[in-house]
């Protein structure tokens, strides 16, 4: 209970400072839109093509955006050594991690929700046919990114090459979550009745989230107490 | 069996041995480098005393 209360305080703080400066929101949002544009120019996609790689395209954009967002998660604490004060406070490592992961999740999810209509317009896709399913898949994939990304950003925050190192470490680890997210999004975009392997991919995504959330919460204290 | 089949077999075996040999050489190089570093540092500490 205390853990959750502390996590909420951290998440609110992170979101508030992000909305105050809008550093990563603005850059990430414009970056995502530019990638969507570039893809449209590069492939001039037909509806058939979109049905085939729409999900993949969306998640590539989201994964790029994700790296920018989670990179800030612990970097935010670097000026003035705020991380020291947080670690010395009664908040546990797990609550610090959870708070930051929730903040990153909210930011990313917001950016994705703006990207979806842009994607729909640029590629002429009716993506809202199964809105709740879409949001569910989006939320699961985004939590996977936020969780793994924020955790690894805690590992790399003190490195000189942080910006390069982070995606290099995060992306391979994330593959078993992004793969099902792409598959599921693709299925939902076509608007066809759900095929039989839908449940299998969903289980994979949910399993990944449970496993890595548990691991991160359990190991956060080890990482933060140096 | 065509010519290529057997040539590629040789490539395969060469790669297997070659890669491991390259790793062994890299290990050797690192060994040399580390020994050198250690010597320099030891001398430096010696001098400071």
């Amino acid at each position: 209970m205390t853990t959750l209360r502390h996590a909420a305080a951290i998440a609110v703080k992170d979101l508030r400072s992000e909305f105050r400066t809008k550093e990563s929101i603005n850059s990430t949002l414009s970056f995502s839109v530019v990638i969507l544009l570039l893809f449209a120019f590069a492939f001039d996609p037909t509806p058939d093509m979109i049905a085939e790689f729409g999900g993949g395209l969306l998640w590539i954009v989201f994964v790029f955006a994700g790296a920018l967002i989670v990179n800030r998660a612990f970097a935010r604490e670097l000026p003035n050594d705020c991380i020291d004060v947080l670690v010395s406070s009664p908040a546990s490592g797990a609550s610090l991690f959870l708070g930051k992961a929730v903040a990153a999740f909210v930011l990313l999810f917001g950016i994705e929700c703006i990207c979806l209509p842009v994607f729909g317009i640029l590629y002429n896709v009716t993506w809202w046919r199964s809105l709740s399913g879409m949001m569910g898949v989006l939320a699961l994939g985004t939590w996977a990114m936020a969780c793994v990304g924020v955790f690894i950003s805690a590992l790399t925050v003190n490195l000189r090459l942080r910006e390069v190192m982070l995606p290099m470490l995060v992306y391979p680890v994330l593959i078993p979550a992004i793969l099902p997210a792409m598959m599921l999004t693709n299925t939902l975009l076509t608007g066809q009745p759900l095929p039989s392997d839908f449940g299998v991919w969903l289980r994979l995504l949910v399993g990944f989230n449970i496993m890595f959330t548990t691991l991160s919460v359990y190991l956060a204290e080890t990482i933060l107490v140096r | 069996m065509d010519e290529r089949n057997i040539t590629y077999m040789f490539y395969g075996l060469a790669v297997a041995w070659g890669l491991l040999a390259v790793y062994a050489v890299l290990l050797g190089l690192r060994e040399r480098d580390l020994t050198k570093q250690l010597d320099t540092l030891k001398r430096m500490v010696e001098e400071k005393k």
Partner: protein, 230 residues
């Protein structure tokens, strides 16, 4: 002492490797459908087993490090990971050469290949992270945690591929097929014997690497000491 063990292992491994090479090239019979190219399997498969064993060792010693905070386990973890990467590279590239002949392409986006590549990237990231952290204790802790993460991810990816269609040959060894003989026992034995040879080689690599890690620690400590004297 360590040097003697390494030399002794070498004295076993080298003749064994050479004998196996001779046997693979001249003694074992050709496979009916594939021709000589299949002989690559005698390295492809054993290299995979060796790499998998190395990764497993790395995982176990990373967990031990997190529990005991003893630098020894960190040294074992990095040595095993690096050696594992070398053997995984052999596994990957021999596999590609085989694919060029049998499938006609160097790289099929076959799940098992993809898995091996992802695995390689994940553990390569582990080495990259290590090289970027200066303080040995911090390095050991952070990379042990990453190793646990990487292994978890690799395990799930392995599961994911079973849900994907695969064109990779299924298990052929009798231990995996439940006793059904799928290949000639001579061939199967050859695979085992060469696995043993490669394991010996891996053990040598790990021991040498372990000693280097100890030297590195000594260097780090000396450097700190030199700084503290100023």
């Amino acid at each position: 002492m360590r040097t003697k063990v390494i030399l002794a292992l070498g004295a076993v491994a080298l003749p064994l490797l050479l004998r196996n090479l001779y046997a693979i090239m001249f003694l074992v019979p050709d496979e009916m459908e594939q021709g000589p190219i299949y002989r690559i399997f005698y390295y492809h498969l054993p290299a995979f087993f060796t790499a998998a064993l190395c990764y497993l060792t790395a995982l176990v010693s990373s967990i031990l490090y997190l529990l005991k905070k003893d630098q020894k386990y960190d040294a074992i973890a990095v040595s095993a990971t690096e050696t594992g990467l070398a053997f995984a590279a052999v596994n990957l590239i021999t596999g590609m050469i085989w694919g060029r002949i049998s499938w006609g392409i160097w790289w099929a986006w076959d799940p098992r290949l993809t898995w091996a590549l992802i695995c390689w990237l994940v553990y390569f990231g582990y080495l990259m992270l290590r090289s970027a952290i200066d303080d040995p204790t911090e390095r050991a802790k952070n990379s042990a945690v990453l190793s646990v993460f990487a292994s978890a991810s690799v395990a799930i990816t392995w599961k994911a591929i079973e849900w994907w269609r695969t064109q990779h040959p299924g298990p052929v060894l009798s231990i995996r097929t439940g006793g059904v003989q799928k290949i000639d026992p001579i061939m199967e034995n050859m695979i085992y014997v060469n696995t043993v040879a490669l394991l010996f080689l891996a053990a040598i690599f790990i021991l040498v690497r372990l000693r280097q890690e100890e030297v590195q620690r000594e260097i780090d400590a000396l450097r700190r000491y030199a700084h503290a004297m100023n």
